[in-house]
C-alpha cells in the first residue's frame, strides 16, 4: 500500500514544477557531460589508432633492430612471410646550411616507402619524385630554422642535398614518438658518401612488413620472437601501432576522468544543497503527513522517487551534451591532433559517465533525504531550533559509504590506473573534509569576530561577519563549491610553476651546454684537443657508447623476470671503462680491476636495479649488434639522470666489448660565448658528429609539460564552472532571505550604500576564505607531488596563489551582487507585508 501512495505524492509534488532544481540539474548534467566528453574523445582516439594501426605503423608489422641492418637470415624470413618489406633507417643527425646548424631526425627510406598512406608535401608531389637524386624533404620548422626553401641546398654529413619539398605530414608520424629534432626524409641510397652511417653509428633499422590478408599477427610475432629475439629484435604490429601514444592517451584520459570526478563531487555539493533546501520547504507537508500517520518510509520513498526522476533527467541531459559536444567539435579536434581520431557516439564512455552520475546523485542525496524521514511530527507545533546538524541513521551511513566505495572501485577498475584513482579519490575526500572543517571554523571565527569590540562602528563588516557566523548561513556551501575547483587550480599552478623552475631554472645551471654523439674512435683525440684547449670550456666528459637490449635475466626472458620496466622497453646505452668514472659512487659490490680479462661483468644503475629486482651475481644477457653478451652484475652505482649529464644504466668491463664497433659521446660544459666557435670547428672537421644543444632539448620538454599543464588546467576549469553553478544556486536561494534582511535594515535606518557594503563584504569574506583554503590545499598537494613524485625541491609560488584568492573573491562577489539588485531596490513595506 505504501508504494502507490508514495508514487502519488511524488507525482503531485513533481507537477509543482522544477523551480529550485535548476542548480541540481545543472550540476549533475555538467559533471556527467564532462566525463562523457572526455571518454568519448579518448574512445575516438583509440578507435582511430586501432583502425589506422597499419598506416601509423607504416606496415602491418614492424621488426626493428638497433645499430645494424637486418641479417640475411632475418631478411629471408621477412621476405618469405610478407608481401612486401620496406626498410627505414632512423637516426639523429645535423642539417647544416652555411653557418646554421639544426638537429634533425632522419628517416632514410627505400622505394617502397610508404607501404600504407601518403606523405603530404608542399608543394604537393609524389614522394618518389621528391626523393629522386640527392634530395631531402624537411619539416617546415626545420626549414625555417635553417632559413631554406624548396630548391635550396642543405648539407647532411659530408654531402650536399637539395631540399625538394616541405614535409607536412608523414603517415607514420604518430608511431615515431618523441624526437628531439624535427623530421627529414631521404632515400637510403642517398646516404652513400655522407659518412653518417659508419660502424658504431647509432641508428635503428625498421623493417615494415605488408602481410597477406588475414595474417595471424600473434602467431607471426611468436614465431619471429622465437627465432630472432636473442638477436635484439623488437616487434611491433598494427594491433598496437603506437604503444607510447596509446599509453599516453590512456593515462591522460584516465586522469581527466578523475578531474571530472572531482567536478562531479563539487556538483554533488550543489545537489545536496538543492535537496536540503527543497526538503526544508516541505517541512510542513512532511510533518503533516507524519501526523496523519504516514510512516517515515513512505515519505522517504516518495521524495526519493521525485529526486530519482530529476536525477535521471539531469544525467540524461549530461549524456546528450557529453556525446554531442565532441561530435560538434570533431573537425577542430581532429585537426589539432597528430593522430587520426574516429569521433563518434561511443556507448562505453557514456555508460561509464552515467554510472558515475547515478552513484554520485545517490551518495549526495541519501543523507539529506533521510532527514525527511526524521522530521518529527511535533516539529509543526513547537518552535523548533532550526537546522541542528542531524547525523544520519546508521543504515543510511552504511549505504552511503558502500556507494562511495563502489564509485571509487568502479573508477579504479575502469580507468586502468588504480593507484592514481585511489590517490585522487583520497585527495578529493581529504579536500572536501578539509573544506567542511574550514567552513565550520570560519563560521565560528566570524561569530567571535562579529562580537569584537574593535568592530563596533564598522556596521557593514560586523553585519557581514555576523551573517557568516549566524545560524543557517552559506559558509559551507560557498567554501565547498568554490574550494574544490580552486584547490585543483591552485595545485596545478604550484606544480606547474615549480616544475618549470626546476627545468628551466635550475637545470641549465648544472646541465651541460652540448651533448655530442657519433664521435668515431679515430676522432676522439682530435675532438678532445679542440675542446680542452678552449678557455671557454669548463668541463668535458666522454664515454664510449654502444646500445644493447637486455634480453634475458638469469636465463629467463627479461620481461618475465622484471616485468614492464622502462629499462627493458627498448635498447639502452652501454658504456665501458677501466676505472669508475670520476664522481661515481659505488653502493654495492666492486668494480673490476683495470685490465681485467675474465668473464664479462656489469656495473648496473642502483635505483633501476632495485626497481627491477636485480641482485649482485645476476646474469644478464645483453644483445649488442646482434651478438649476445652474458655478463654478471658485480656492482651497483648511483646514476642521477636528472642533471642531463652522461648516465648509463650499464657499464661493462672493456674486454667484454673488445672488437665491437662503437662511437663516443661527450658532454661539453662551456660558456655561451664559446659555444658557436666550438661547434663550427667541430662541424667542419667532423661532419658526421651530431651536436645536441641541451637548452633546446630542455625547451622541448618544457613545451610538452606546458601542454600537459594546460590540459589539466582546462579540466580543473570544468570543476570550477560546476562550482560556479553551485555558487549561483546558493546565491539565488539566498536571495529571498537577502530581500528580507535588506527590508528590515532599511526599516531601522540603513541607507542602500550600507546594505550594499554588507552584501559585498559578506560575499568577499567567503570568497577569500575559499581561496585561502584552496591555496593551502594546493600548496600541500604541490609539495607532495614535487617531493614524492618528482623528487625535487618545492618553493611556494605567491603569484599563482594571489591569483587564486583574487579569483575566489571575484566570483563570490559577482555571484552575490548578481542577486543583490532586488533586495536593494525592493520597498520595505511590500516585503514585510508579504512576510506577515
Amino acid at each position: 500500500m505504501s508504494l502507490p501512495i508514495a508514487a502519488r505524492i511524488a507525482r503531485r509534488e513533481l507537477r509543482g514544477g522544477l523551480r529550485g532544481f535548476r542548480v541540481f540539474l545543472a550540476c549533475l548534467a555538467l559533471g556527467v557531460a564532462a566525463i562523457a566528453a572526455v571518454g568519448t574523445v579518448r574512445e575516438g582516439i583509440e578507435a582511430g589508432l586501432r583502425a589506422n594501426g597499419a598506416v601509423i605503423l607504416g606496415g602491418d608489422a614492424q621488426m626493428s633492430f638497433t645499430y645494424r641492418r637486418a641479417s640475411d637470415a632475418e631478411r629471408d624470413w621477412m621476405q618469405a612471410n610478407a608481401r612486401a618489406v620496406s626498410e627505414v633507417i632512423d637516426f639523429r643527425s645535423m642539417a647544416v646550411v652555411g653557418d646554421q646548424r639544426a638537429l634533425t631526425q632522419i628517416k632514410a627510406v627505400d622505394d617502397l616507402y610508404p607501404l600504407y598512406g601518403q606523405v603530404e608535401l608542399s608543394p604537393p608531389m609524389p614522394i618518389d619524385r621528391a626523393l629522386a637524386g640527392d634530395s631531402v624533404v624537411m619539416a617546415r620548422v626545420l626549414a625555417d630554422r635553417l632559413g631554406v626553401a624548396p630548391g635550396d641546398r642543405v648539407r647532411l654529413g659530408a654531402k650536399e642535398f637539395t631540399l625538394s619539398a616541405i614535409l607536412l605530414r608523414a603517415p607514420d608520424d604518430a608511431g615515431a614518438g618523441f624526437a628531439l629534432g624535427p623530421p627529414s626524409i631521404v632515400r637510403g641510397a642517398a646516404l652513400e658518401g655522407t659518412g653518417l652511417l659508419s660502424a658504431g653509428s647509432l641508428f635503428d633499422s625498421d623493417y615494415r612488413l605488408a602481410l597477406p590478408e588475414g595474417a595471424d599477427l600473434a602467431a607471426l610475432q611468436a614465431k619471429a620472437e622465437r627465432l630472432f629475439r636473442d638477436t635484439g629484435l623488437r616487434w611491433r604490429d598494427a594491433r598496437n601501432a603506437a604503444p607510447g601514444v596509446t599509453r599516453f592517451v590512456e593515462r591522460m584520459g584516465a586522469f581527466l576522468v578523475l578531474v571530472g570526478l572531482a567536478g562531479l563531487a563539487v556538483g554533488g555539493v550543489g545537489v545536496s544543497a538543492a535537496v536540503r533546501a527543497y526538503l526544508d520547504s516541505k517541512t510542513e507537508v512532511i510533518a503533516t503527513l507524519k501526523t496523519i500517520g504516514a510512516e517515515g518510509r513512505v515519505i522517504f520513498a516518495a521524495y526519493l522517487m521525485q529526486i530519482g526522476v530529476l536525477a535521471v533527467l539531469g544525467i540524461a541531459i549530461g549524456l546528450v551534451l557529453g556525446a554531442l559536444i565532441p561530435l560538434a567539435l570533431a573537425p577542430v579536434i581532429e585537426a589539432q591532433l597528430p593522430l587520426p581520431a574516429d569521433l563518434g557516439v561511443a556507448a562505453g564512455p557514456l555508460a561509464q559517465a552515467a554510472l558515475y552520475g547515478v552513484l554520485t546523485a545517490l551518495i549526495f542525496t541519501l543523507w539529506p533525504l533521510s532527514r525527511s524521514g526524521q522530521i518529527r511530527a511535533a516539529a509543526l507545533f513547537r518552535d523548533e531550533i532550526e537546522h541542528s546538524f542531524a547525523l544520519p541513521g546508521w543504515r543510511v551511513a552504511l549505504v552511503t559509504l558502500g556507494l562511495i566505495a563502489a564509485l571509487v572501485g568502479a573508477a579504479a577498475w575502469l580507468s586502468g590506473v588504480a593507484w592514481l584513482t585511489y590517490w585522487a579519490a583520497g585527495g578529493i575526500a581529504g579536500a572536501l573534509v578539509l573544506l567542511i572543517i574550514v567552513a565550520g571554523a570560519l563560521k565560528w571565527l566570524a561569530r567571535r569576530a562579529a562580537k569584537a569590540r574593535a568592530l563596533r562602528g564598522r556596521t557593514a563588516l560586523r553585519l557581514a561577519l555576523g551573517a557568516i557566523g549566524g545560524p543557517g548561513g552559506e559558509a559551507r556551501s560557498v567554501v565547498l563549491s568554490l574550494g574544490l575547483g580552486l584547490s585543483v587550480l591552485a595545485a596545478v599552478g604550484q606544480i606547474d610553476a615549480n616544475l618549470r623552475n626546476a627545468i628551466a631554472g635550475e637545470l641549465p645551471d648544472v646541465a651541460p651546454s652540448y651533448f655530442i654523439v657519433d664521435i668515431q674512435p679515430d676522432q676522439v683525440q682530435g675532438f678532445l684537443t679542440r675542446v680542452n684547449t678552449d678557455p671557454g670550456v669548463s668541463r668535458v666528459q666522454t664515454a664510449p657508447m654502444l646500445r644493447g637490449v637486455i634480453t634475458r635475466i638469469n636465463g629467463q626472458p627479461a620481461r618475465e623476470v622484471a616485468g614492464d620496466h622502462w629499462v627493458l622497453s627498448s635498447d639502452r646505452g652501454v658504456t665501458s671503462s677501466d676505472r669508475p668514472p670520476p664522481g661515481t659512487v659505488i653502493t654495492d659490490g666492486q668494480w673490476w680491476p683495470a685490465d681485467y680479462d675474465g668473464p664479462a661483468q656489469i656495473s648496473f644503475a642502483q635505483e633501476e636495479a632495485q626497481e627491477m629486482g636485480l641482485k649482485l651475481g645476476d646474469l644478464l644477457t645483453v644483445n649488442i649488434l646482434g651478438r649476445d653478451i652474458n655478463a654478471t652484475i658485480t656492482s651497483f652505482r648511483v646514476v642521477d639522470f636528472s642533471t642531463a649529464g652522461i648516465g648509463f644504466v650499464m657499464s661493462m668491463n672493456p674486454a667484454a666489448l673488445a672488437g665491437a664497433p662503437y662511437t663516443s659521446i661527450a658532454t661539453i660544459y662551456a660558456s655561451d660565448a664559446a659555444e658557436a666557435p666550438i661547434l663550427r670547428d667541430l662541424a667542419a672537421s667532423y661532419p658526421n658528429i651530431t651536436a645536441i644543444r641541451v637548452r633546446d632539448a630542455i625547451d622541448r620538454v618544457a613545451e610538452v609539460l606546458r601542454g600537459l599543464a594546460a590540459a589539466i588546467t582546462y579540466g580543473a576549469l570544468a570543476t570550477l564552472v560546476t562550482g560556479l553553478f553551485v555558487l549561483i544556486g546558493a546565491a539565488a536561494a539566498g536571495e529571498r532571505a537577502r530581500v528580507y534582511e535588506a527590508a528590515i535594515l532599511k526599516t531601522v535606518g540603513a541607507v542602500r550604500g550600507q546594505v550594499l557594503a554588507y552584501f559585498t563584504l559578506r560575499s568577499a569574506i567567503l570568497g577569500a576564505a575559499a581561496g585561502g583554503v584552496a591555496v593551502l590545499a594546493g600548496g600541500i598537494a604541490g609539495w607532495a607531488v614535487m617531493t614524492f613524485v618528482m623528487e625535487e625541491a618545492f618553493v611556494f609560488q605567491p603569484g599563482s596563489a594571489l591569483v587564486i584568492v583574487a579569483g575566489g573573491v571575484a566570483m563570490t562577489v559577482l555571484a552575490g551582487l548578481g542577486f543583490a539588485l532586488r533586495p536593494l531596490s525592493a520597498r520595505p513595506a511590500r516585503v514585510l507585508r508579504a512576510r506577515e
Partner: protein, 226 residues
C-alpha cells in the same frame, strides 16, 4: 493643533495587485499631535497597516502629502528616508521581523550603529535589560519564543529614543499573557520617553487605551473620535 508631529493631507495609496491596480487609501487627512497615542482600528482590508507604513516612510503615497516632524516624506529619497527613520522612528511589527542571523543584542544595537552611535552596544544592553531579557542577549531569534522576540523588537524600536513609535498589530502573533505584557511595555515606553504612539489593532479594547481612536473602513477614515 499646534504643529502636529504627523500630518497627512489628502493622502491616497494605489498598489499594483494581481488583477490590476488596487486603491488602498482614498484621500486620508489626519493630524497627530506630539505625545499623543492614536489607535488605528478597522476591519481587515481597511488599509490601516498601509496607513501606518506611510507614516513611517516605508511606503510612498501615490497622492497627497505626508509630513512628519516638519519634513515632507514624499520629497525625501530612499536613503534620506532611512536616515530620517533611524533618528526619529521606532517600528514594531506583528511578525517581529528580527534579523535571523544576529543575536538579540546585535539586533537592538543595529539602528544605533547605523546612526553612528559610539556606545550602541551599551545602550542596546540597557534596553534589553529594561524589557527583562538581560539574560538572553546572546541568543538568536530562533532560540526565543514569540513573546521574547517581540520584546527584542520593542527594545530595538525604543533604543534610538524615537520621537514617533509605530506599532502594527504588535500582539497579533502572541497569546493573551504575552500580548498583555507587550502592550504594557509599549505604553510604558511611550510614557517614559514622551514619544508619539500610533498603534494599529483590530481589538477595540486595545484601541481605547489610546488617547484617540481613528477608525478606518475601505481606505477612508470613518469618523475620528478625539
Amino acid at each position: 493643533m499646534s504643529d502636529p508631529i504627523l500630518s497627512l493631507s489628502d493622502v491616497t495609496l494605489t498598489l499594483k495587485g494581481n488583477a490590476g491596480p488596487v486603491e488602498i487609501l482614498h484621500g486620508i487627512s489626519l493630524d497627530v499631535a506630539q505625545g499623543q497615542s492614536v489607535g488605528l482600528i478597522g476591519p481587515s482590508g481597511s488599509g490601516k497597516s498601509s496607513l501606518l507604513m506611510l507614516m513611517g516612510g516605508l511606503e510612498r503615497a501615490t497622492g497627497g502629502q505626508v509630513r512628519a516632524l516638519g519634513h515632507d516624506l514624499g520629497a525625501l529619497g530612499e536613503d534620506a528616508l532611512a536616515r530620517f527613520r533611524r533618528r526619529h522612528m521606532g517600528v514594531v511589527f506583528q511578525s517581529f521581523h528580527l534579523i535571523p542571523t544576529m543575536t538579540a543584542l546585535e539586533n537592538v544595537a543595529t539602528p544605533l550603529e547605523l546612526a553612528g552611535a559610539r556606545d550602541a552596544f551599551d545602550r542596546a544592553a540597557e534596553e534589553l535589560r529594561a524589557v527583562g531579557l538581560g539574560a538572553r542577549m546572546d541568543h538568536y531569534p530562533s532560540q526565543m519564543s514569540g513573546g521574547e522576540q517581540q520584546r527584542v523588537a520593542l527594545a530595538r524600536a525604543a533604543a534610538p529614543r524615537p520621537d514617533i513609535l509605530l506599532a502594527d498589530e504588535p500582539t497579533g502573533n502572541l497569546d493573551g499573557a504575552n500580548g498583555e505584557a507587550i502592550i504594557e511595555m509599549l505604553f510604558g515606553l511611550r510614557d517614559r520617553h514622551g514619544a508619539t504612539l500610533v498603534l494599529v489593532t483590530h481589538a477595540r479594547e486595545l484601541a481605547e487605551r489610546c488617547d484617540r481612536v481613528v477608525r478606518l473602513r475601505d481606505g477612508r477614515i470613518d469618523g475620528a473620535a478625539a
